[in-house]
C-alpha cells in the first residue's frame, strides 16, 4: 500500500517541529538556572523530560487517528502531544506555568490535558495505561469506532499497571493499542538490568494479544505497523502491542549528566538521528526538494517561536487561583 505523500511530508514537518520545540525548551530551561543549577528557578521550573530522538514513534502513529481517539502519554509527553495536534500555544503556556495554559498553570509539563484532541499524560509510570483501557471501554460501550492509544516506556512494562491493563484489554476485547517506546534506559537503568526477557513485544502473547517489534527508529516503519494495529482495533478485533526501538538523545531529565551512557553510544545515536535520516530519504526519493525542506524548517521553527512568545507574553495565574478547580 502506497503511503500518501501528505502523510510522509507531514510526519517530517512534525518531527522538525518537535525537535525544535524540545531544543528551545532546553535552552530556556537552563538559561536562568545557571550558574549553580537551581531546579526551581527560571521561566520553566521543576523537572523537564524531553523527547528528542523519539519523534518517529509519535509521528508514525498519528496519521491513523481520527477525532475523538484518546491518547495517554508519559512524563516525556511533548512529542506525542505535538504530533496529536494539541494547541501549541496553550501547551507551551502550560509548560511556562501561565494562566493561558491548558490547565491554567496547574498541571505543568507532565500533566497536560486536552479534550480536543483527546489527550492526557501523567508523571507516574504506567498510570495512563489503565486509563486508555477505560477510554476504549467507553468507546465500545457507546458504540463509537474510536480507539485509545497508550504510550509508555520499556521501564513501565515492569510496573503492575502494564500487566493489568493488557490483561483487561484482551479479556474485554477493547480497541486500545499499547505503544512501547523502548529507548533502552529507565532513567539510568538499562533494559537488560530491569527486564527478565529481551523484548516486551513478546509479553503480548502472554496476555492474549499480538505484539510486534519495530526494530528501527523509523517513522515509516512505525506508520505501517500502527496503521495495521489501529485498523484492527477500530474493526473490533481487539488490542495489540507495538514495541519500537527508539533513541532518547538526551538525558532522562534536563540536568541529567547522562554519565551512565558512553560517549560511543551517544555518538551512535547521533549518527542515526532519524530526523536527519528520514529527511534525507525524502529528498532522495524526490518527495521533498532541498528548498522545500528548508521551507518546512522555517515554518515549523516559526510556529514554535510564536508559541513560546505567546507563553512568555501570557500572564501568570493569580496566586489565589491555586484554590480553584479542585471540584467542578
Amino acid at each position: 500500500m502506497e503511503i500518501p505523500r501528505d502523510h510522509l511530508v507531514d510526519m517530517y514537518s512534525t518531527m522538525v517541529k518537535i525537535r525544535y520545540f524540545e531544543e528551545r525548551l532546553r535552552e530556556i530551561y537552563f538559561a536562568d538556572k545557571l550558574p549553580a543549577f537551581d531546579i526551581g528557578a527560571g521561566e520553566i521550573p521543576g523537572e523537564m523530560h524531553l523527547a528528542a530522538g523519539q519523534e518517529p514513534v509519535a509521528v508514525g502513529t498519528m496519521p491513523h487517528l481520527k477525532p475523538g481517539d484518546a491518547i495517554t502519554a508519559t512524563h516525556r509527553p511533548h512529542h506525542v502531544a505535538i504530533a496529536q495536534g494539541l494547541d501549541l500555544n496553550r501547551m507551551t503556556a502550560e509548560i511556562f506555568g501561565k494562566d493561558t495554559g491548558l490547565g491554567h498553570g496547574k498541571g505543568g509539563h507532565m500533566h497536560l490535558f486536552s479534550t480536543e484532541p483527546n489527550f492526557g499524560c501523567s508523571g507516574i509510570i504506567a498510570e495512563g495505561m489503565p486509563v486508555a483501557v477505560g477510554a476504549a471501554l467507553a468507546f465500545k460501550k457507546l458504540g463509537k469506532d474510536n480507539v485509545a492509544i497508550a504510550f509508555f516506556g520499556e521501564g513501565a512494562a515492569n510496573q503492575g499497571a502494564f500487566h493489568e491493563s493488557l490483561n483487561l484489554a484482551a479479556l474485554w476485547n477493547l480497541p486500545v493499542v499499547f505503544v512501547c517506546e523502548d529507548n533502552g534506559y529507565a532513567i539510568s537503568v538499562p533494559k537488560d538490568a530491569s527486564t527478565a526477557i529481551a523484548d516486551n513485544s513478546d509479553r503480548a502473547s502472554a496476555y492474549g494479544m499480538p505484539g510486534v517489534l519495530v526494530p528501527e527508529n523509523d517513522p515509516v516503519a512505525v506508520y505501517e505497523v500502527a496503521r495495521e494495529a489501529i485498523a484492527r482495533a477500530r474493526a473490533g478485533d481487539g488490542p495489540s502491542l507495538i514495541e519500537v526501538r527508539t533513541d532518547r538523545l538526551w538525558g532522562h531529565f534536563e540536568g541529567d549528566a547522562d554519565a551512565y551512557r558512553s560517549d560511543e553510544f551517544k555518538d551512535s545515536m547521533t549518527s542515526r538521528d532519524s530526523l536527519v535520516v528520514y529527511g534525507d530519504r525524502l529528498v532522495e526519493e524526490g518527495i521533498l526538494t532541498t528548498a522545500g525542506r528548508e521551507k518546512i524548517t522555517d515554518t515549523m521553527h516559526g510556529e514554535v517561536d510564536e508559541a513560546i512568545d505567546f507563553a512568555r507574553n501570557s500572564p501568570d495565574p493569580a496566586p489565589e487561583d491555586a484554590l480553584l478547580h479542585v471540584f467542578s
Binding site: 502506497e2 529481551a198 523484548d199 510486534v212 523509523d218 505497523v225 495489540s240
Partner: protein
C-alpha cells in the same frame, strides 16, 4: 567450496558456527496474519536442544555470535552443562542484520565446518551474504521458513555434530541456488528464497504482505510446501535444481497464493520463465524497492539486476542421520563436554 585446513580448527576440534537472530518473527505479520510468536525464550530453548543434540556426536567446539537478545547465553544455562565447548565471536551485537553477516564472514575465516542459524529465511540470507558458500544448518525459528529446517532441534544438533566431524555421506549437503542483487551502488545483496520487486517506495516495516504491491519476483529453492512467494513459484510447476523462476505479476493467470501463515489469497501472474544459474535478470522499471527473502531491503537504482548463481550448501538432516547406522558405532566417541566458555 571452502575446505578448512586442520590448522584452522580450534584446540584441535572441528568448529561449528552458531548465529541466532533475536529479531526473527516479531514483525507485522503477527498483526496482519497469524505469524507465530517465537519469542526469545522459545528460541533459547530451541538452541539449548540443539546444543544438547550436538553432544550426541563426536567432540567439536561451537563459535557463536553473542546475540543482542542473550539467547545463546540463556540456552547455555538451560543445558546445564550438557553442551559442547562454546566460545563467543569478538563481535558486539546490536541486533541488526549486520551481526549475522559479520559473524558468518568471521566463521568462514575461522574455518568453521558448518554454520547453524536460528531464525527465518532472512537470517539465512544475511548469513549467506557473509559466507556465500557456507555449509548451512538453518534451524527454523522465523515466520515463513521456506528454506529453514523444521525438525526437532536435538536431532538437528546431532546431525550437525556428525556432519562437522566428517561422519557424513557424500550427498549429505544439497546445494542451493542464490540470487545476488546488484544495484548500481556497487554493493550486492543476496537472497536465498526470493527477490521480489515492489512498487512502493519504502522499506518501512520491512515485511512483505500486500499482494497489490508486487511487481516481479525471482524465486529459487522453492519446495511446494514452502509458504510465501515461494508457494506462488512452486504452484506454476516444479523448478529444476540449479534453476530459478522469474515471475512478472500482472493480469494473466490467477494463482492461489499462501503469502504467509494464515494469509491466503491469490495473485495474477502475467508471465514466468525458468532460468539456469548464470542468468542475469534486469529488474523492471516499476520496481522501486527490492525485497529479499520476504523483507523490503533495497531502494533500487537504474541498473538493478539479479544474478542467479550457485549458492550455499544445505545439510540434509535425514540423509546424515540415516547414514549413521552404516557406521561402526565404536568409531564415534560420545561428545559430552561441560558447557564452559573458553573466552
Amino acid at each position: 567450496m571452502s575446505t578448512p585446513s586442520p590448522t584452522q580448527d580450534h584446540h584441535g576440534l572441528p568448529i561449528v558456527g552458531l548465529i541466532a537472530n533475536p529479531v526473527a518473527s516479531k514483525d507485522i505479520r503477527r498483526l496482519v496474519g497469524l505469524a507465530r510468536v517465537v519469542d526469545v525464550e522459545e528460541k533459547a530453548n530451541l538452541i539449548a536442544r540443539l546444543l544438547v543434540g550436538m553432544t550426541a556426536g563426536p567432540p567439536l567446539v561451537v563459535l557463536a555470535l553473542d546475540d543482542s537478545g542473550g539467547m545463546v547465553r540463556r540456552a547455555l544455562r538451560l543445558t546445564r552443562g550438557k553442551a559442547p565447548s562454546l566460545e563467543f565471536l569478538p563481535i558486539e551485537a546490536d541486533g541488526s542484520e549486520r551481526d549475522t553477516h559479520d559473524a558468518a564472514a568471521m566463521l568462514r575465516a575461522r574455518g568453521a565446518r558448518a554454520l547453524v542459524t536460528v531464525g527465518g529465511d532472512g537470517t539465512i540470507r544475511s548469513a549467506v551474504e557473509g559466507w556465500p558458500d557456507a555449509r548451512l544448518v538453518p534451524l527454523a525459528a522465523g515466520t515463513n521458513n521456506a528454506v529453514a529446517i523444521v525438525h526437532e532441534p536435538t536431532m538437528i544438533g546431532y546431525a550437525t555434530s556428525l556432519a562437522a566431524t566428517g561422519h557424513v555421506p557424500g550427498d549429505a549437503y544439497d546445494r542451493l541456488t542464490s540470487m545476488v542483487v546488484h544495484t548500481d551502488d556497487s554493493e550486492s545483496s543476496t537472497a536465498v528464497v526470493d527477490v521480489v520487486g515492489v512498487r512502493t517506495h519504502w522499506t518501512g516495516a520491512r515485511a512483505l504482505w500486500e499482494p497489490d504491491d508486487l511487481v516481479e519476483a525471482v524465486v529459487a529453492n522453492a519446495r511446494p510446501e514452502a509458504v510465501g512467494i515461494a508457494s506462488i513459484a512452486a504452484a506454476l510447476g516444479p523448478i529444476p535444481p540449479r534453476h530459478a523462476r522469474y515471475i512478472r505479476f500482472g493480469s494473466g493467470r490467477t494463482v492461489r497464493a499462501i503469502f504467509g501463515p494464515g494469509l491466503v489469497g491469490e495473485i495474477s501472474v502475467a508471465e514466468y520463465h525458468t532460468v539456469p544459474e548464470g542468468t542475469r535478470i534486469r529488474l523492471a522499471s516499476a520496481t522501486r524497492v527490492v525485497a529479499l527473502d520476504g523483507e523490503r531491503r533495497l531502494i533500487r537504482n537504474d541498473d538493478a539486476h539479479v544474478e542467479v548463481t550457485p549458492g550455499a550448501f544445505l545439510l540434509s538432516v535425514s540423509k546424515t542421520l540415516a547414514a549413521r547406522s552404516r557406521t561402526d558405532r565404536e568409531d564415534i566417541p560420545s561428545g559430552q563436554h561441560a558447557g564452559d566458555l573458553l573466552s
